[in-house]
């Protein structure tokens, strides 16, 4: 007996999960709950980064296929995305190491919330800098293929909110501008200018979410780094 999908988006969404599993060997991923923008502490922002692929003969579906397959290659060198073995597919979990000021590395992860031929979305877990998701999409506008990354987020806790205010937003903008420029270069687009649109969806802070700081992956990553010599001594029996 064959079954016909009831909705066209059947199979494009991850299955519901209470906590993330996978990303073995990376801290701050397994056991963490995925978080929507409503679970964060800070102001809610919608940031849209987009680039028109002038002169590139490429369809939106081809852009998304390439973006999924080579996702880490478009990132700035100081941050790493460890793609799941199955690739960017609904329900898969990827680990991230993000370069922070002072040479620190922040270890966290993402859940692939949604993925189809036209877009894909990564959702953050507890402890990530922000609660929310990033949607990567491609479409045709004014006869040009456009690639877009759109972030809907609140900083997860008060420390991250401070960090976002004092350089974090600027750093995030740089990250996605670099990513879209690299993607445009891959397709040989000419004069690729990345536009950035930032909208404050909600200027209020969610004080009931202050305790999110307990999961702060930045603090946990720093403590993990500081504890590395001790762990190495224990392993060597010293």
């Amino acid at each position: 007996m064959s079954t016909t999908p009831e909705h066209r988006d059947d199979g494009a969404w991850a299955q519901p999960v209470q906590t993330l599993t996978g990303a073995d060997g990376h801290i701050n991923v397994s056991g963490r709950r995925p978080t929507a923008p409503i679970h964060g502490f800070g102001k809610m922002w919608q940031k849209t980064y987009r680039v028109e692929l002038h002169g590139a003969d490429v369809s939106p579906e081809e852009v998304i296929a390439t973006w999924k397959e080579h996702f880490p290659e478009f990132w700035p060198a100081k941050s790493s995305f460890f793609a799941p073995l199955a690739g960017i597919a609904p329900g898969e979990v990827a680990a991230l190491d993000l370069g922070m000021p002072g040479g620190l590395r922040l270890s966290t992860g993402v859940l692939v919330l949604f993925a189809d031929a036209e877009s894909f979305t990564l959702m953050t877990p507890q402890g990530h800098m922000f609660a929310g998701w990033i949607t990567f999409s491609s479409f045709v506008e004014n006869a040009e293929t456009v690639a877009q990354a759109q972030v809907l987020m609140r900083a997860s806790d008060p420390l991250y909110e401070l960090g976002m205010m004092f350089g974090g937003h600027r750093e995030e903008d740089r990250h996605w501008v670099h990513t879209l420029r690299s993607l445009a270069d891959r397709f040989g687009a000419q004069d690729a200018e990345v536009s950035v649109e930032t909208i404050c969806v909600d200027k209020r802070r969610e004080w009931s979410r202050v305790s999110n700081v307990w999961h702060n992956a930045g603090i946990r990553s720093a403590l993990h780094t500081l504890g590395r010599p001790t762990r190495a001594r224990r392993r060597s029996g010293g």
């Binding site: 009831e6 909705h7 066209r8 988006d9 059947d10 494009a12 969404w13 991850a14 299955q15 519901p16 999960v17 995925p34 978080t35 929507a36 923008p37 409503i38 679970h39 809610m44 919608q46 919330l113 949604f114 189809d116 036209e118 877009s119 894909f120 979305t121 959702m123 998701w133 949607t135 999409s137 479409f139 045709v140 506008e141 759109q150 809907l152 969806v201 909600d202 209020r204």
Partner: protein, 116 residues
């Protein structure tokens, strides 16, 4: 931006309670239609009920629009309730944890009763 969305129906079901009928596809192209429906539903309304029984397709941009609608309603001290979600879309609400902030009912009369 290419606008392909059609207006969403809005109707009153009681004093201070209105229903927005979310039908067809909810994607990034639905932003204007959803915003327009919210504005039409908002006047003097304390509870907005989203009817999802006509929903055929929703991607992650669409769920993002629901989040922004929810935030806007919260800012205006309005409650958002929902009904008519298929099992598939209930799972998406669970996955995105929107079910923690939007009460979901099986049918309109239950949602209207809860709206008080």
């Amino acid at each position: 931006m290419t606008e392909v969305s059609t207006p969403l129906a809005v109707r009153a079901v009681g004093t201070g309670v209105k229903v927005i009928e979310i039908g067809g596809e909810i994607t990034r192209d639905s932003e204007a239609a959803l915003q327009d429906a919210y504005e039409r539903a908002s006047d003097g309304t304390r509870t907005i009920i989203l009817a999802f029984d006509g929903l055929q397709y929703m991607n992650s941009s669409g769920i993002g629009l629901l989040v922004t609608l929810l935030v806007r309603a919260k800012r205006n001290h309005q409650r958002i309730l929902a009904y008519g979600l298929s099992e598939h879309y209930r799972q998406i609400f669970e996955l995105t944890r929107l079910d923690e902030v939007i009460s979901i009912y099986d049918a309109e009369d239950a949602a209207v009763a809860a709206a008080g």
